[in-house]
């Protein structure tokens, strides 16, 4: 049972099941779409945190930039969505390459501080370039993609569009995580000095991980702008970076589906609680402290424990519970 939970195909199955279950349990197609969009961005954040050991406080840069790029390409250049999406991915990858290259010049906490400072840089950049970004108001009237000449104005129709992209990109991220590249990232996460000593150009690998993460995050940002019809300034704010990171850590850094779980938990809890009490973030703050103290493997750790209980097996040791190792390299 617990062994089953380590298999990538099971994670993809869970992602697909999420796509199918959300319309059954949620009334709002917008919330359902948001879960997939943020789940994707959190999974991209996890490629850096869980797979490369890089805690990036700058994921909002790529998310916000993706929103703006989508809006500008659709509105100013008039490109259709299918042409816009690859361009947005390219913008995200290019920006992430630059931010990553600069940030990894410092290690550890300095790296984290740098990513946060860069997120402020891009926020003020967006704020300053009000002619392009709409400043405080955001970039308004971002259109949804059209299917057969009709825009996907129905929330659930747009959800289907998001879901298709979500599954495709989730599978792509899984492929990356399982590739020779992804397995080298795990080595860098475990022991950077040794990875370098056995011949890997560590910085190049880290920057490449940033580029991939940035591309996927920017795509998520583009999907978000089309969902709400605006590319808002808040998408490039500190809080977006913070939210994506919180989703990733709450979900658990061990595998990509955990991030989707973290995003779903955050958004559904936020949706329920904010209706009752607008200051629900206070509870979130307390929860984060509790996670740091008692639940370091996140929600996914709980899933594993529950599965172990059901199967009456001892729960997996943190060191051996690496979900990304392929079958042949396990005992």
């Amino acid at each position: 049972m617990t062994r089953l939970l380590e298999r990538p195909i099971v994670h993809f199955g869970l992602a697909a099941a999420t796509v199918l279950v959300l319309p059954l349990v949620l009334r709002s197609g917008t919330l359902a779409s948001e879960i997939l969009i943020y789940g994707l961005a959190a999974a991209a954040c996890n490629l850096l945190l869980g797979y490369t050991g890089l805690l990036s406080f700058g994921q909002g840069i790529f998310f916000g930039l993706g929103s703006y790029a989508a809006g500008l390409i659709l509105l100013r250049a008039g490109w259709p969505a299918p042409a816009m999406l690859p361009a947005v991915a390219l913008v995200g990858a290019a920006t992430a390459t630059a931010v990553g290259w600069l940030s990894i010049r410092r290690q550890g906490v300095y790296f984290v501080m740098l990513t946060l400072a860069f997120s402020q840089l891009f926020y003020f950049l967006a704020y300053t370039l009000g002619d392009l970004t709409g400043g405080d108001n955001g970039l308004l009237n971002v259109p949804r993609p059209a299917l057969g000449g009709k825009p996907l104005s129905d929330p659930w129709a747009y959800y289907a569009f998001v879901a298709a992209l979500f599954l495709g990109l989730f599978a792509a991220l899984q492929r990356v995580a399982l590739s020779t590249f992804g397995r080298t990232l795990l080595a860098i996460r475990d022991n950077e000095a040794r990875a370098s000593a056995i011949g890997f150009p560590v910085r190049t690998f880290k920057v490449a991980a940033f580029a991939i993460s940035g591309a996927v995050t920017a795509l998520a940002g583009a999907l978000h702008a089309m969902l709400i019809g605006v590319a808002p300034l808040s998408n490039i704010e500190y809080h977006t970076s913070e939210t994506l990171l919180i989703m990733t850590i709450i979900g658990g850094a061990g595998n990509l589906f955990a991030s989707v779980l973290g995003a779903a938990f955050y958004l559904v809890a936020g949706d329920l609680l904010s209706a009752i009490w607008p200051r629900w973030l206070l509870l979130l703050g307390v929860l984060l402290v509790a996670v740091a103290l008692f639940m370091q493997r996140g929600l996914w750790g709980l899933v594993e424990r529950a599965a172990a209980l059901v199967a009456r097996e001892p729960p997996p040791e943190p060191a051996s519970a690496d979900a990304t190792l392929p079958e042949e390299s396990r005992p």
């Binding site: 492929r175 590249f181 397995r183 080298t184």
Partner: protein
Amino acid sequence: MTAASKAVASAIEPPVEPALAADGLGVRYGSFVALKDITLRVRPNSVHAIIGPNGAGKTTLFHALTGRVRAASGRITLGGRDITRTRDDDRVRLGLARSFQVTSLFATLSVRENLRLAAQGRTPWAALAPWRAVSERDAAFAVVDALLARLDLAGVAGRPAGELSHGQQRRLEVGMAMAARPRVILLDEPTSGMGTDDIGAMTDLIRDLGRDHTVLFIEHNMGIVMNISDTVTVMRAGQVLVEGRPAAVRDDPEVRRAYLGNMITGDLR
């Protein structure tokens, strides 16, 4: 070939191009001079030991030779090629690999994956392909499986490296250096912390490595040094004190006075 007969042979033959050489090598940490004017010649397919008291700069010398720290002065050549300014990961590609004094593995990854990565390190740019899965038919696995057998780690191939016993981790540590199929292999205290049984196996392994590799190793166990080395370099305070055949080093009065005293007890076979 015993150490002594090899030394005789090399005295007759004309001088060969050293596999690894340092000329006037110096390293500084801030204002502290860690290495000063080190000149070293490591002959191909020889076993060359570095000994010296703690703080003599032995590990720093390894760091400099492998490119982890930058040389402040002097020149390093690998098979005649100047690598003084070459990055550490690029030196692996040129055939230089090392193990660490303090075990440094990928703790959550399996033993087999540790070795596969080390083998892949020879062609790291091929690993930069985010779409390419690792194939079981990959040539690296042939090297890995041979190493697992040679290091007696086949039984634990699937276990995370962090869960191995100390002796197993030390063997894997050396195996990581071997996996890149280097011409020159640097071992930093390969027997540190090992029990007697493990030490014997490690000694055999190093002697064995000397047949098809060039081995440079740091060691505190004088028995091993005297038994398997072709050449011994004694370091003290960041400089080379004496270099020569084990017997000569053992009998050198300056070495005895300065550092070794009566510590040399290894039997010369």
